[in-house]
Amino acid sequence: MIQPVLDIVSWALILAGSFFTIVGAIGLVRMPDVYTRMHAASVTDTLGAGLLLAGLMVQAGLGLVTLKLLFILILFFFMGPVATHALAQAALHAGIKPQLSEDRTERLEERESEGRQP
């Protein structure tokens, strides 16, 4: 009785996870600079991996396998932000400027000439 329901739930989760994984990868190729690419890659790290592993958990049922999947999920949730933070800091340190929609240097100079804090 409960098995078909579990199957449908896990299929939906796995399909959604696959979708977000591909979306993140497309963003990785299509985005214009390194910071926006980080933003796109985080979709794969959180939604894609989270939904996919949740689907596998539902499929596996209670047991050691689910515990291992949970370990992988926790690893993603802690280490993804750490790696991304280190990457952004290293890129900033190397002098790569984020791409802005408008050039703000003129506005900053204007404000400074008016004696205000930027």
Partner: protein, 92 residues
């Protein structure tokens, strides 16, 4: 169903490799390498279920730990030019 998920992960892997080859900066390549690691973990988990051998998850956990360490080590190298960087030495 697992086969469809494996195909999706493979497509994403291909796209990540494309970004790693295109560059243009070294940080793009590191980001792509990190994504390849993440997708490899997902692929291992899904293929483990596909072949009915969930023991592959142990390999996936190992890959995850290695992935984090290698990404941080590469970033440290490209940020400081040295893996044995000491912050106190720099300050003095």
């Amino acid at each position: 169903m697992f086969a469809a998920a494996a195909c999706a992960v493979l497509v994403a892997l291909t796209l990540a490799v494309v970004r790693a080859l295109k560059g243009p900066t070294v940080f793009d390549r590191v980001l792509a390498g990190n994504s390849v690691g993440t997708l490899a973990i997902l692929l291992l988990a899904v293929v483990g279920f596909l072949t009915g051998r969930p023991e592959w998850l142990d390999i996936a956990i190992t890959y995850g730990l290695l992935n984090v360490i290698s990404t941080l080590a590469i970033l440290k190298f490209f940020r400081h030019g040295d893996l044995a960087y000491d912050a106190e030495e720099e300050a003095s």
